[in-house]
Symmetry: C2
Subunit: 265 residues, 2 copies
Protein backbone atom coordinates (compact mmCIF):
# COMPACT_ATOMS: atom_id res chain seq x y z
CA UNK A 1 0.00 0.00 0.00
CA UNK A 2 1.03 3.57 -0.64
CA UNK A 3 2.67 5.33 2.30
CA UNK A 4 0.31 8.01 3.59
CA UNK A 5 1.58 11.30 4.94
CA UNK A 6 1.96 11.31 8.73
CA UNK A 7 -1.03 13.62 9.27
CA UNK A 8 -3.29 10.97 7.72
CA UNK A 9 -2.07 8.24 10.04
CA UNK A 10 -5.37 7.75 11.86
CA UNK A 11 -9.02 7.75 10.89
CA UNK A 12 -9.95 11.09 12.45
CA UNK A 13 -7.02 12.89 10.79
CA UNK A 14 -7.79 11.29 7.45
CA UNK A 15 -11.42 12.38 7.63
CA UNK A 16 -10.38 15.94 8.61
CA UNK A 17 -8.06 16.10 5.61
CA UNK A 18 -10.80 14.84 3.31
CA UNK A 19 -13.45 17.15 4.81
CA UNK A 20 -11.26 20.23 4.34
CA UNK A 21 -10.64 19.30 0.70
CA UNK A 22 -6.93 18.88 1.41
CA UNK A 23 -7.06 15.21 0.46
CA UNK A 24 -9.22 13.89 -2.36
CA UNK A 25 -8.49 10.16 -2.36
CA UNK A 26 -8.32 7.31 -3.13
CA UNK A 27 -8.27 6.24 0.50
CA UNK A 28 -6.17 3.08 0.03
CA UNK A 29 -3.06 3.48 2.19
CA UNK A 30 -4.61 6.21 4.38
CA UNK A 31 -4.76 5.60 8.13
CA UNK A 32 -3.11 2.17 8.01
CA UNK A 33 -4.65 -0.24 10.50
CA UNK A 34 -8.03 1.52 10.52
CA UNK A 35 -11.18 0.03 9.05
CA UNK A 36 -12.46 1.53 5.81
CA UNK A 37 -16.04 0.94 4.76
CA UNK A 38 -18.28 1.01 1.73
CA UNK A 39 -21.08 3.59 1.94
CA UNK A 40 -24.70 3.09 0.89
CA UNK A 41 -27.25 5.89 1.47
CA UNK A 42 -30.88 5.36 0.53
CA UNK A 43 -34.38 6.57 1.43
CA UNK A 44 -35.82 5.16 4.66
CA UNK A 45 -38.67 3.48 2.80
CA UNK A 46 -36.12 1.10 1.22
CA UNK A 47 -33.76 0.81 4.18
CA UNK A 48 -35.55 -2.02 5.93
CA UNK A 49 -35.47 -4.20 2.80
CA UNK A 50 -31.82 -3.35 2.19
CA UNK A 51 -30.97 -4.21 5.79
CA UNK A 52 -32.78 -7.53 5.40
CA UNK A 53 -30.80 -8.13 2.21
CA UNK A 54 -27.55 -7.55 4.11
CA UNK A 55 -28.66 -9.74 6.99
CA UNK A 56 -29.50 -12.56 4.60
CA UNK A 57 -26.19 -12.20 2.73
CA UNK A 58 -23.64 -11.42 5.42
CA UNK A 59 -20.57 -12.55 3.50
CA UNK A 60 -20.90 -9.99 0.67
CA UNK A 61 -22.77 -7.41 2.85
CA UNK A 62 -21.20 -7.23 6.33
CA UNK A 63 -22.87 -4.22 7.96
CA UNK A 64 -20.54 -2.17 10.19
CA UNK A 65 -23.05 0.52 11.20
CA UNK A 66 -26.40 2.05 10.20
CA UNK A 67 -27.36 5.68 10.75
CA UNK A 68 -30.58 7.06 12.18
CA UNK A 69 -32.80 8.38 9.39
CA UNK A 70 -31.74 11.91 8.49
CA UNK A 71 -28.65 11.84 10.70
CA UNK A 72 -25.37 11.74 8.73
CA UNK A 73 -23.41 10.47 11.76
CA UNK A 74 -22.13 6.98 12.56
CA UNK A 75 -20.91 7.42 16.14
CA UNK A 76 -19.86 3.79 16.61
CA UNK A 77 -17.33 4.22 13.79
CA UNK A 78 -16.05 7.69 14.76
CA UNK A 79 -17.66 10.36 16.94
CA UNK A 80 -17.12 13.21 14.47
CA UNK A 81 -18.19 11.40 11.28
CA UNK A 82 -20.28 13.50 8.91
CA UNK A 83 -21.20 11.29 5.99
CA UNK A 84 -22.04 14.33 3.83
CA UNK A 85 -18.43 15.51 3.69
CA UNK A 86 -16.12 12.80 4.99
CA UNK A 87 -15.63 10.68 1.87
CA UNK A 88 -13.40 11.99 -0.94
CA UNK A 89 -15.95 11.23 -3.64
CA UNK A 90 -19.49 9.91 -3.92
CA UNK A 91 -21.67 8.45 -6.63
CA UNK A 92 -25.27 9.54 -7.04
CA UNK A 93 -27.70 7.06 -8.61
CA UNK A 94 -31.17 8.04 -9.83
CA UNK A 95 -33.42 5.22 -11.00
CA UNK A 96 -30.33 3.02 -11.20
CA UNK A 97 -28.41 5.44 -13.42
CA UNK A 98 -25.17 7.08 -12.32
CA UNK A 99 -25.87 10.83 -12.54
CA UNK A 100 -23.07 12.55 -10.62
CA UNK A 101 -19.78 12.03 -8.75
CA UNK A 102 -19.67 14.88 -6.23
CA UNK A 103 -17.13 15.41 -3.43
CA UNK A 104 -19.82 16.55 -1.00
CA UNK A 105 -23.46 15.43 -0.67
CA UNK A 106 -24.69 18.21 1.67
CA UNK A 107 -27.05 19.58 -0.96
CA UNK A 108 -28.57 16.12 -1.54
CA UNK A 109 -29.04 15.23 2.09
CA UNK A 110 -32.61 14.67 3.28
CA UNK A 111 -34.34 13.87 6.53
CA UNK A 112 -35.36 10.44 5.26
CA UNK A 113 -31.93 9.20 4.19
CA UNK A 114 -30.41 6.20 5.96
CA UNK A 115 -26.71 5.36 5.64
CA UNK A 116 -25.09 1.92 5.80
CA UNK A 117 -21.36 1.41 6.29
CA UNK A 118 -20.36 -2.01 4.96
CA UNK A 119 -17.11 -3.82 5.66
CA UNK A 120 -14.52 -4.06 2.90
CA UNK A 121 -11.66 -6.34 1.98
CA UNK A 122 -8.99 -3.74 2.85
CA UNK A 123 -9.27 -5.01 6.45
CA UNK A 124 -8.46 -8.64 5.69
CA UNK A 125 -5.94 -7.71 3.01
CA UNK A 126 -3.92 -5.91 5.67
CA UNK A 127 -3.85 -9.12 7.72
CA UNK A 128 -2.79 -11.15 4.66
CA UNK A 129 0.06 -8.73 3.95
CA UNK A 130 1.16 -8.80 7.60
CA UNK A 131 1.31 -12.59 7.29
CA UNK A 132 3.73 -12.19 4.39
CA UNK A 133 1.34 -13.19 1.62
CA UNK A 134 1.59 -11.53 -1.77
CA UNK A 135 -1.53 -9.84 -3.12
CA UNK A 136 -1.14 -10.13 -6.87
CA UNK A 137 -3.26 -7.07 -7.71
CA UNK A 138 -1.04 -5.00 -5.44
CA UNK A 139 2.19 -6.38 -6.96
CA UNK A 140 0.77 -5.65 -10.38
CA UNK A 141 -0.42 -2.18 -9.33
CA UNK A 142 -4.02 -2.69 -10.37
CA UNK A 143 -7.48 -3.25 -8.90
CA UNK A 144 -8.49 -6.66 -7.58
CA UNK A 145 -10.37 -8.65 -10.25
CA UNK A 146 -14.07 -9.16 -9.49
CA UNK A 147 -16.54 -11.51 -11.14
CA UNK A 148 -20.31 -11.99 -11.18
CA UNK A 149 -21.02 -15.60 -10.25
CA UNK A 150 -23.84 -18.07 -10.84
CA UNK A 151 -24.52 -18.04 -7.09
CA UNK A 152 -27.69 -16.05 -6.35
CA UNK A 153 -27.94 -13.88 -3.26
CA UNK A 154 -30.97 -14.35 -1.02
CA UNK A 155 -33.41 -11.66 -2.22
CA UNK A 156 -35.15 -9.17 0.09
CA UNK A 157 -37.82 -6.83 -1.30
CA UNK A 158 -36.50 -5.34 -4.53
CA UNK A 159 -32.89 -6.27 -3.72
CA UNK A 160 -31.48 -9.36 -5.41
CA UNK A 161 -28.83 -10.43 -7.90
CA UNK A 162 -25.73 -12.55 -8.26
CA UNK A 163 -22.99 -12.87 -5.70
CA UNK A 164 -19.96 -10.90 -6.89
CA UNK A 165 -16.57 -12.24 -5.79
CA UNK A 166 -13.05 -10.86 -5.71
CA UNK A 167 -10.20 -13.18 -6.69
CA UNK A 168 -6.67 -13.48 -5.36
CA UNK A 169 -4.32 -16.20 -6.67
CA UNK A 170 -2.21 -18.21 -4.23
CA UNK A 171 -0.27 -21.44 -4.18
CA UNK A 172 -1.84 -24.18 -2.05
CA UNK A 173 0.09 -23.40 1.15
CA UNK A 174 -0.72 -19.69 0.95
CA UNK A 175 -4.35 -20.46 0.07
CA UNK A 176 -4.65 -22.51 3.26
CA UNK A 177 -3.02 -19.67 5.24
CA UNK A 178 -5.31 -17.10 3.60
CA UNK A 179 -8.37 -19.16 4.56
CA UNK A 180 -7.18 -19.30 8.16
CA UNK A 181 -6.48 -15.57 8.32
CA UNK A 182 -9.64 -14.32 6.64
CA UNK A 183 -11.80 -16.72 8.68
CA UNK A 184 -10.87 -14.53 11.66
CA UNK A 185 -12.60 -11.55 10.03
CA UNK A 186 -16.28 -12.49 9.54
CA UNK A 187 -17.26 -8.79 9.74
CA UNK A 188 -15.22 -7.99 6.64
CA UNK A 189 -16.25 -10.78 4.24
CA UNK A 190 -14.59 -13.59 6.20
CA UNK A 191 -13.39 -16.84 4.64
CA UNK A 192 -13.38 -17.45 0.90
CA UNK A 193 -16.54 -18.76 -0.73
CA UNK A 194 -14.70 -20.84 -3.32
CA UNK A 195 -11.30 -21.90 -4.55
CA UNK A 196 -10.07 -23.78 -7.58
CA UNK A 197 -12.19 -24.29 -10.69
CA UNK A 198 -13.87 -20.94 -11.58
CA UNK A 199 -16.45 -22.68 -13.80
CA UNK A 200 -18.01 -24.24 -10.71
CA UNK A 201 -19.30 -20.80 -9.70
CA UNK A 202 -20.15 -19.68 -13.21
CA UNK A 203 -16.97 -17.78 -14.08
CA UNK A 204 -16.14 -18.55 -17.70
CA UNK A 205 -12.88 -16.65 -18.13
CA UNK A 206 -10.61 -15.40 -15.33
CA UNK A 207 -8.85 -13.08 -17.77
CA UNK A 208 -12.08 -11.12 -18.26
CA UNK A 209 -13.25 -9.83 -14.87
CA UNK A 210 -16.60 -8.04 -14.67
CA UNK A 211 -15.05 -5.35 -12.45
CA UNK A 212 -11.45 -4.40 -11.69
CA UNK A 213 -8.47 -5.76 -13.59
CA UNK A 214 -7.24 -9.21 -14.61
CA UNK A 215 -4.17 -10.49 -12.75
CA UNK A 216 -1.65 -13.19 -13.60
CA UNK A 217 -2.12 -16.72 -12.28
CA UNK A 218 1.35 -18.28 -11.98
CA UNK A 219 2.09 -21.94 -12.55
CA UNK A 220 0.93 -24.02 -9.59
CA UNK A 221 -1.37 -21.31 -8.24
CA UNK A 222 -5.12 -21.56 -7.77
CA UNK A 223 -7.69 -18.79 -7.76
CA UNK A 224 -9.25 -18.09 -4.35
CA UNK A 225 -12.58 -16.25 -4.29
CA UNK A 226 -14.05 -14.01 -1.58
CA UNK A 227 -17.54 -12.50 -1.37
CA UNK A 228 -17.24 -8.89 -2.48
CA UNK A 229 -18.83 -5.58 -1.51
CA UNK A 230 -19.70 -4.94 -5.13
CA UNK A 231 -22.55 -7.45 -4.57
CA UNK A 232 -24.79 -4.97 -2.69
CA UNK A 233 -23.79 -2.18 -5.07
CA UNK A 234 -24.93 -4.25 -8.05
CA UNK A 235 -28.16 -5.17 -6.22
CA UNK A 236 -28.77 -1.49 -5.47
CA UNK A 237 -28.26 -0.45 -9.06
CA UNK A 238 -30.60 -3.18 -10.29
CA UNK A 239 -33.24 -2.07 -7.75
CA UNK A 240 -33.45 1.28 -9.59
CA UNK A 241 -34.29 3.32 -6.49
CA UNK A 242 -35.36 6.91 -7.13
CA UNK A 243 -32.25 7.99 -5.17
CA UNK A 244 -29.22 6.16 -3.86
CA UNK A 245 -25.78 7.49 -2.94
CA UNK A 246 -22.68 5.36 -2.60
CA UNK A 247 -18.95 5.92 -2.20
CA UNK A 248 -17.06 6.26 -5.50
CA UNK A 249 -14.76 3.25 -6.15
CA UNK A 250 -11.67 3.54 -3.93
CA UNK A 251 -13.05 6.54 -2.02
CA UNK A 252 -14.12 4.87 1.18
CA UNK A 253 -15.26 5.95 4.61
CA UNK A 254 -12.20 5.91 6.89
CA UNK A 255 -13.20 5.03 10.45
CA UNK A 256 -11.71 5.15 13.96
CA UNK A 257 -12.08 1.41 14.43
CA UNK A 258 -8.99 -0.72 14.03
CA UNK A 259 -8.94 -3.71 11.69
CA UNK A 260 -7.58 -5.78 14.57
CA UNK A 261 -10.81 -5.15 16.53
CA UNK A 262 -12.64 -7.19 13.92
CA UNK A 263 -10.51 -10.28 14.35
CA UNK A 264 -12.59 -12.81 16.24
CA UNK A 265 -9.56 -14.55 17.74
CA UNK B 1 -18.04 -44.59 13.10
CA UNK B 2 -19.12 -47.88 14.56
CA UNK B 3 -21.36 -47.63 17.60
CA UNK B 4 -19.44 -48.87 20.63
CA UNK B 5 -21.13 -50.76 23.41
CA UNK B 6 -22.13 -48.53 26.35
CA UNK B 7 -19.47 -49.91 28.65
CA UNK B 8 -16.80 -48.58 26.29
CA UNK B 9 -18.24 -45.07 26.25
CA UNK B 10 -15.29 -43.41 27.97
CA UNK B 11 -11.53 -43.79 27.85
CA UNK B 12 -11.12 -45.50 31.21
CA UNK B 13 -13.82 -48.07 30.44
CA UNK B 14 -12.36 -48.73 27.00
CA UNK B 15 -8.89 -49.32 28.46
CA UNK B 16 -10.32 -51.62 31.15
CA UNK B 17 -12.08 -53.68 28.47
CA UNK B 18 -8.90 -53.90 26.42
CA UNK B 19 -6.73 -54.68 29.43
CA UNK B 20 -8.95 -57.56 30.51
CA UNK B 21 -8.89 -59.01 26.99
CA UNK B 22 -12.64 -58.48 26.64
CA UNK B 23 -12.11 -56.10 23.75
CA UNK B 24 -9.41 -56.59 21.13
CA UNK B 25 -9.89 -53.65 18.77
CA UNK B 26 -9.74 -51.82 16.45
CA UNK B 27 -10.37 -48.80 18.67
CA UNK B 28 -12.15 -46.68 16.05
CA UNK B 29 -15.60 -45.88 17.43
CA UNK B 30 -14.64 -46.67 21.03
CA UNK B 31 -15.10 -43.94 23.65
CA UNK B 32 -16.51 -41.36 21.24
CA UNK B 33 -15.27 -37.86 22.03
CA UNK B 34 -12.08 -39.09 23.67
CA UNK B 35 -8.61 -38.58 22.20
CA UNK B 36 -6.89 -41.64 20.77
CA UNK B 37 -3.16 -41.60 20.21
CA UNK B 38 -0.43 -43.35 18.30
CA UNK B 39 2.12 -45.11 20.47
CA UNK B 40 5.90 -45.16 20.01
CA UNK B 41 8.13 -46.90 22.57
CA UNK B 42 11.90 -46.84 22.17
CA UNK B 43 15.09 -47.10 24.23
CA UNK B 44 16.03 -43.95 26.17
CA UNK B 45 19.26 -43.55 24.25
CA UNK B 46 17.19 -42.71 21.14
CA UNK B 47 14.37 -40.86 22.86
CA UNK B 48 15.99 -37.44 22.87
CA UNK B 49 16.60 -37.56 19.11
CA UNK B 50 13.08 -38.81 18.48
CA UNK B 51 11.66 -36.04 20.64
CA UNK B 52 13.72 -33.49 18.69
CA UNK B 53 12.39 -35.02 15.47
CA UNK B 54 8.82 -34.55 16.72
CA UNK B 55 9.54 -31.01 17.87
CA UNK B 56 10.96 -30.10 14.47
CA UNK B 57 8.02 -31.70 12.62
CA UNK B 58 4.98 -30.87 14.75
CA UNK B 59 2.37 -31.28 12.03
CA UNK B 60 3.04 -35.00 11.39
CA UNK B 61 4.32 -35.66 14.94
CA UNK B 62 2.16 -33.84 17.51
CA UNK B 63 3.34 -35.18 20.89
CA UNK B 64 0.53 -35.63 23.43
CA UNK B 65 2.64 -37.05 26.27
CA UNK B 66 6.01 -38.69 27.01
CA UNK B 67 6.62 -41.21 29.76
CA UNK B 68 9.43 -41.28 32.28
CA UNK B 69 12.02 -43.88 31.28
CA UNK B 70 10.93 -47.31 32.48
CA UNK B 71 7.49 -46.11 33.61
CA UNK B 72 4.62 -47.39 31.43
CA UNK B 73 2.26 -44.68 32.71
CA UNK B 74 1.10 -41.47 31.03
CA UNK B 75 -0.78 -39.75 33.87
CA UNK B 76 -1.66 -36.63 31.90
CA UNK B 77 -3.67 -38.78 29.50
CA UNK B 78 -5.30 -41.06 32.08
CA UNK B 79 -4.27 -41.82 35.66
CA UNK B 80 -4.56 -45.60 35.32
CA UNK B 81 -2.83 -45.99 31.95
CA UNK B 82 -0.50 -48.98 31.69
CA UNK B 83 1.05 -48.89 28.25
CA UNK B 84 2.08 -52.55 28.51
CA UNK B 85 -1.52 -53.76 28.47
CA UNK B 86 -3.87 -50.96 27.45
CA UNK B 87 -3.66 -51.15 23.67
CA UNK B 88 -5.45 -53.98 21.83
CA UNK B 89 -2.43 -54.86 19.74
CA UNK B 90 1.20 -53.78 19.36
CA UNK B 91 3.90 -54.09 16.77
CA UNK B 92 7.46 -55.00 17.72
CA UNK B 93 10.26 -53.83 15.45
CA UNK B 94 13.83 -55.14 15.70
CA UNK B 95 16.43 -53.44 13.52
CA UNK B 96 13.56 -51.96 11.49
CA UNK B 97 11.93 -55.34 10.86
CA UNK B 98 8.44 -56.19 12.11
CA UNK B 99 8.93 -59.26 14.28
CA UNK B 100 5.74 -59.64 16.31
CA UNK B 101 2.21 -58.33 16.89
CA UNK B 102 1.47 -59.12 20.53
CA UNK B 103 -1.55 -58.00 22.58
CA UNK B 104 0.61 -57.32 25.64
CA UNK B 105 4.19 -56.05 25.90
CA UNK B 106 4.80 -56.80 29.60
CA UNK B 107 7.49 -59.35 28.77
CA UNK B 108 9.33 -56.84 26.53
CA UNK B 109 9.19 -53.91 28.93
CA UNK B 110 12.52 -52.58 30.18
CA UNK B 111 13.73 -49.90 32.56
CA UNK B 112 15.15 -47.86 29.71
CA UNK B 113 12.04 -47.69 27.53
CA UNK B 114 10.44 -44.33 26.86
CA UNK B 115 6.90 -44.03 25.43
CA UNK B 116 5.50 -41.28 23.24
CA UNK B 117 1.78 -40.77 22.64
CA UNK B 118 1.25 -38.88 19.39
CA UNK B 119 -1.95 -37.18 18.28
CA UNK B 120 -3.99 -38.78 15.52
CA UNK B 121 -6.50 -37.66 12.94
CA UNK B 122 -9.43 -39.37 14.70
CA UNK B 123 -9.72 -36.20 16.81
CA UNK B 124 -10.16 -33.79 13.92
CA UNK B 125 -12.24 -36.28 11.93
CA UNK B 126 -14.77 -36.26 14.74
CA UNK B 127 -15.02 -32.47 14.41
CA UNK B 128 -15.39 -32.74 10.62
CA UNK B 129 -18.22 -35.26 10.99
CA UNK B 130 -19.94 -33.09 13.62
CA UNK B 131 -19.80 -30.26 11.09
CA UNK B 132 -21.70 -32.44 8.63
CA UNK B 133 -18.78 -33.15 6.29
CA UNK B 134 -18.54 -36.50 4.58
CA UNK B 135 -15.35 -38.49 5.07
CA UNK B 136 -15.06 -40.50 1.89
CA UNK B 137 -13.01 -43.33 3.42
CA UNK B 138 -15.72 -43.77 6.05
CA UNK B 139 -18.54 -43.74 3.46
CA UNK B 140 -16.57 -46.30 1.46
CA UNK B 141 -15.80 -48.36 4.56
CA UNK B 142 -12.06 -48.40 4.09
CA UNK B 143 -8.89 -46.86 5.51
CA UNK B 144 -7.92 -43.29 4.70
CA UNK B 145 -5.48 -43.20 1.75
CA UNK B 146 -1.95 -42.12 2.69
CA UNK B 147 0.93 -41.07 0.45
CA UNK B 148 4.67 -40.51 0.79
CA UNK B 149 5.42 -37.00 -0.50
CA UNK B 150 8.43 -35.20 -1.93
CA UNK B 151 8.43 -32.96 1.17
CA UNK B 152 11.31 -33.95 3.47
CA UNK B 153 10.89 -33.83 7.24
CA UNK B 154 13.50 -31.94 9.26
CA UNK B 155 15.93 -34.67 10.35
CA UNK B 156 17.08 -35.21 13.96
CA UNK B 157 19.80 -37.75 14.76
CA UNK B 158 18.97 -40.93 12.85
CA UNK B 159 15.35 -39.92 12.28
CA UNK B 160 14.46 -38.54 8.87
CA UNK B 161 12.39 -39.29 5.81
CA UNK B 162 9.51 -38.00 3.72
CA UNK B 163 6.39 -36.37 5.05
CA UNK B 164 3.50 -38.83 4.75
CA UNK B 165 0.07 -37.31 4.21
CA UNK B 166 -3.50 -38.56 4.46
CA UNK B 167 -5.99 -37.46 1.81
CA UNK B 168 -9.68 -36.62 2.06
CA UNK B 169 -11.58 -35.37 -1.00
CA UNK B 170 -13.96 -32.40 -0.66
CA UNK B 171 -15.69 -29.89 -2.88
CA UNK B 172 -14.36 -26.33 -2.55
CA UNK B 173 -16.86 -25.16 0.07
CA UNK B 174 -16.26 -28.22 2.26
CA UNK B 175 -12.48 -27.92 1.74
CA UNK B 176 -12.62 -24.35 3.10
CA UNK B 177 -14.74 -25.54 6.04
CA UNK B 178 -12.36 -28.45 6.68
CA UNK B 179 -9.40 -26.05 6.76
CA UNK B 180 -11.20 -23.87 9.29
CA UNK B 181 -12.14 -26.80 11.51
CA UNK B 182 -8.81 -28.62 11.49
CA UNK B 183 -6.93 -25.34 12.05
CA UNK B 184 -8.48 -25.38 15.51
CA UNK B 185 -6.67 -28.64 16.32
CA UNK B 186 -2.92 -27.98 16.03
CA UNK B 187 -2.22 -30.75 18.57
CA UNK B 188 -3.72 -33.36 16.25
CA UNK B 189 -2.12 -32.52 12.88
CA UNK B 190 -3.93 -29.19 12.45
CA UNK B 191 -4.63 -27.57 9.09
CA UNK B 192 -3.95 -29.33 5.80
CA UNK B 193 -0.47 -29.08 4.31
CA UNK B 194 -1.69 -29.04 0.71
CA UNK B 195 -4.77 -29.13 -1.49
CA UNK B 196 -5.32 -29.49 -5.20
CA UNK B 197 -2.66 -30.80 -7.57
CA UNK B 198 -1.05 -33.92 -5.99
CA UNK B 199 1.99 -33.69 -8.30
CA UNK B 200 3.07 -30.51 -6.52
CA UNK B 201 3.95 -32.60 -3.46
CA UNK B 202 5.33 -35.54 -5.40
CA UNK B 203 2.25 -37.76 -5.50
CA UNK B 204 2.11 -39.35 -8.96
CA UNK B 205 -1.13 -41.30 -8.73
CA UNK B 206 -3.93 -40.78 -6.20
CA UNK B 207 -5.36 -44.19 -7.04
CA UNK B 208 -2.23 -45.87 -5.68
CA UNK B 209 -1.76 -44.81 -2.05
CA UNK B 210 1.40 -45.95 -0.25
CA UNK B 211 -0.69 -46.88 2.82
CA UNK B 212 -4.42 -47.39 3.33
CA UNK B 213 -6.93 -47.60 0.52
CA UNK B 214 -7.75 -45.49 -2.54
CA UNK B 215 -11.02 -43.55 -2.38
CA UNK B 216 -13.19 -42.04 -5.13
CA UNK B 217 -12.73 -38.39 -6.09
CA UNK B 218 -16.07 -37.15 -7.41
CA UNK B 219 -16.49 -34.62 -10.17
CA UNK B 220 -15.74 -31.13 -8.88
CA UNK B 221 -13.88 -32.35 -5.81
CA UNK B 222 -10.27 -31.65 -4.90
CA UNK B 223 -7.93 -33.75 -2.79
CA UNK B 224 -7.04 -32.18 0.57
CA UNK B 225 -3.88 -33.43 2.30
CA UNK B 226 -3.06 -33.52 6.01
CA UNK B 227 0.24 -34.40 7.68
CA UNK B 228 -0.07 -37.96 8.91
CA UNK B 229 1.12 -39.94 11.91
CA UNK B 230 2.58 -42.56 9.62
CA UNK B 231 5.41 -40.07 9.07
CA UNK B 232 7.15 -40.79 12.42
CA UNK B 233 6.41 -44.52 12.05
CA UNK B 234 8.18 -44.56 8.67
CA UNK B 235 11.08 -42.56 10.13
CA UNK B 236 11.31 -45.02 13.01
CA UNK B 237 11.37 -48.02 10.73
CA UNK B 238 14.06 -46.43 8.56
CA UNK B 239 16.14 -45.67 11.68
CA UNK B 240 16.47 -49.46 12.26
CA UNK B 241 16.61 -49.18 16.05
CA UNK B 242 17.55 -52.38 17.90
CA UNK B 243 14.09 -52.25 19.50
CA UNK B 244 11.00 -50.18 18.92
CA UNK B 245 7.37 -50.89 19.82
CA UNK B 246 4.38 -49.15 18.25
CA UNK B 247 0.60 -49.58 18.24
CA UNK B 248 -0.69 -51.91 15.51
CA UNK B 249 -2.64 -50.02 12.83
CA UNK B 250 -6.07 -49.08 14.17
CA UNK B 251 -5.25 -50.29 17.70
CA UNK B 252 -4.66 -46.98 19.41
CA UNK B 253 -4.20 -45.76 22.96
CA UNK B 254 -7.62 -44.52 24.16
CA UNK B 255 -7.18 -41.67 26.65
CA UNK B 256 -9.27 -39.75 29.19
CA UNK B 257 -8.76 -36.43 27.41
CA UNK B 258 -11.60 -35.14 25.28
CA UNK B 259 -11.04 -34.14 21.64
CA UNK B 260 -12.74 -30.83 22.43
CA UNK B 261 -9.96 -29.98 24.92
CA UNK B 262 -7.59 -29.81 21.99
CA UNK B 263 -9.57 -27.21 20.10
CA UNK B 264 -7.69 -23.92 20.44
CA UNK B 265 -10.83 -21.81 20.02
Amino acid sequence: MRKASPELDNGRAARAGIRSGEFRGPTSGMAPGYVQGNLVVLPAEHAADFHRFCQANPKPCPVLAISEAGNPALPTLGDDIDLRTDLPRYRVWIDGQLTDEPTDIGSLWRDDLVAFAIGCSFSFEEALIEAGLELRHQSQGCNVPMYRTSIATTPAGRFSGPLVVSMRPFDAADAIRAIQITSRFPAVHGAPVHLGDPAQIGIADLSRPDYGDAVTLRDGEMPVFWACGVTPQAALRAAKLPLCITHAPGSMLVTDRRNSEFSTF
